[in-house]
Symmetry: C2
């Protein structure tokens, strides 16, 4: 794998410490299953170096049988489960909102997303082994081992899931990604995988789980990763009134051609992805004239993997001149994406999901 | 009930034969549970007059034990189930799309929707009693008893559901609405209730059910109630390429004040509904200046009825002049409604769900 890393374009690094990086889009579009080395990395703190032989997972709180498991015990005591699922950052495509008005956070292009085959055990099996109270209004809080420093506040990463989601069959405690052990930056030796939800609900370097009657009290859960109205600023925000970001919205992106590419007049193939999380992508439209006309993209055959993205391609006939390509997806409830980033702008730049636009020069 | 009907404003009748009618919006907003007499009526043909003592339901096709049940047998053989759920026409709010460009169909305002307590039996229980093949890619086709004439084609109503939806616990074969027998116009003596889906997937006057490997071949399923791209017309449509309308999109409406109302300057309470079908409504915004500023509406306490609508209200402070009020809802995946009806325009006027705008004069 190392040689592949060296011969392919590197990730685009937004920040080295914490490490935040995403693949170039053309590269992202090459593989329906994203290789680990080219999967976006979103860190809030350091990347812990953990010894799998000594790593333990505890399950406590509103349970009848608290657990304290080694990695070997986790693997042998529970059945192996595999789920193919997209993970994406709540800030994926933030750069588009940044162009409207400044937002805080890294300027992610549409590459803060990837699709992988996750291997591990069903989280529901572990919760049941612990005799967790399965009341659907409860919460499952995670504590991880990465050390974070946000504006002088020092803490370890924590976040939570509603019990109803935690019990759903595709949520995993994962130790494999595409058949290999997780790389350190993806949470080695153990992470949560919560299909459909923002990446922040899939904590890496997982150390403990608590079943409780309140969401996690961690900074990450309480004072970040919430959607607030457009008039709210960093100075006026009342985090308790924001919507906790769990399910991700319908989204799509043009991966090829690249923004500001120079193309020859005539036929060009555009390629990209679309994602509808718990819904299905039913149509992808591409326009070369700001949405006055749309042509329907061809969708790659459904992979029977409900949490995957959809790859699309569309043959365009481009006359000479300056053009802006645009893509929008439609979901199985007949919803489509916002026209402009300012239709859903918020000061944190979350859930940026307007038509993705790519300016090109055709000669 | 009859006297109530006579002393309240009548339904707004778009067509008498077939009967298509909706309540005035202020009236719709009075009751969280919509009375039968004031529930919108969408008919494709006649309203059959059926004798409940002679009415029978058959279940055939890919089943091990075909059923042929009287209404009494249906009631006594299966447990009673109650579900509170919104039904809405796929063409609700079509009038807004009509203002962009002509569309076919009745010009529904936002009143082609209602919320009721449905009583009946779980459809899954009946399918299991028949030994239906539960393969999730199969279809359950319904045949009803209303006679339809569309452009010279005469047929009886038929439609289908994917097996996976048919088996979900809240889909009913219903004989009661708000504790009473169904009124004739709502499907007496038996109808389907498919929460979250367009009303067309909740056939009235239900006579038979077939488990099969293809969707219904009825006109209603194959050549209507599909979402097509904006450039498609009645003359160019290839129905096989349209998206079958099942799940309904996020929507909201201002019920009070009424369009073109004259109001006094100062505080005014706006009221309306919002609906996110299988998701949750997390926020409702109201603007008096075309979306430059938004105020957050107050949502009535969650009723623990996941398929219900949400009632909202917002106190507005209106200066003298001409204003256009607008509302938009947000769902639990961070999606919101399109800004303009032409963002999702289609020649059938389906799934009209842009910001709902109400012009008012303030003096």
């Amino acid at each position: 794998m190392l040689s592949m890393f060296q011969t392919k374009p590197d990730l685009i690094v937004h920040s080295k410490d914490p490490l935040n990086a995403e693949p170039p889009l053309a590269h992202l579009r090459e593989n329906f299953i994203t290789p680990q080395k080219f999967f976006y990395v979103r860190s809030h703190g350091n990347i812990p170096k953990l010894d799998p032989a000594r790593h333990r997972l505890s399950v406590t709180g509103m349970v009848t049988t608290p657990l304290d498991l080694s990695m070997d015990e986790l693997r042998t005591r529970f059945s192996k489960r595999q789920v193919t699922a997209v993970l994406q950052c709540a800030g994926n495509r933030r750069a588009d909102m940044q162009q409207v008005k400044p937002v805080s956070g890294d300027p992610w292009a549409p590459g803060a997303i990837g699709n992988a085959e996750w291997g591990g055990v069903a989280f529901a099996d572990v919760l049941r082994a612990a005799g967790a109270d399965e009341t659907r209004t409860l919460h499952v809080a995670f504590a991880a081992l990465d050390d974070i420093d946000i504006e002088g506040e020092q803490f370890r990463f924590g976040a939570s899931l509603p019990m109803a989601k935690a019990l759903s069959s595709d949520v995993l405690l994962a130790f494999e990604m595409n058949g290999d052990a997780l790389l350190p930056e993806h949470g080695f030796p153990l992470r949560v995988i919560t299909p459909g939800y923002a990446g922040v609900r899939s904590p890496k370097w997982l150390a403990s789980i608590s079943v409780q009657d309140m969401p996690s009290d961690n900074h990450i859960q309480q004072r970040d990763y919430r959607l607030v109205p457009p008039h709210i600023t960093k100075d006026t925000v009342d985090w308790s009134k924001g919507m906790t970001i769990n399910d991700m919205p319908l989204n799509s992106a043009i991966c090829e051609p690249a923004a500001h590419a120079t193309l020859k007049a005539g036929k060009t193939m555009a390629r990209g992805y679309a994602i509808a999380t718990e819904r299905r992508v039913v149509r992808v439209d591409v326009s070369i004239n700001d949405g006055r006309n749309w042509s329907q993209a061809e969708l790659e055959p459904d992979s029977d993997a409900p949490w995957s993205w959809v790859f699309w391609q569309a043959e365009l006939d481009l006359p000479a001149g300056e053009h802006e390509l645009a893509v929008r997806a439609w979901d199985s409830a007949g919803q489509t994406q916002p026209v402009r980033p300012d239709d859903t702008w918020n000061f944190k730049g979350y859930l940026s999901a307007a038509w993705h636009r790519v300016p090109v020069t055709v000669s």
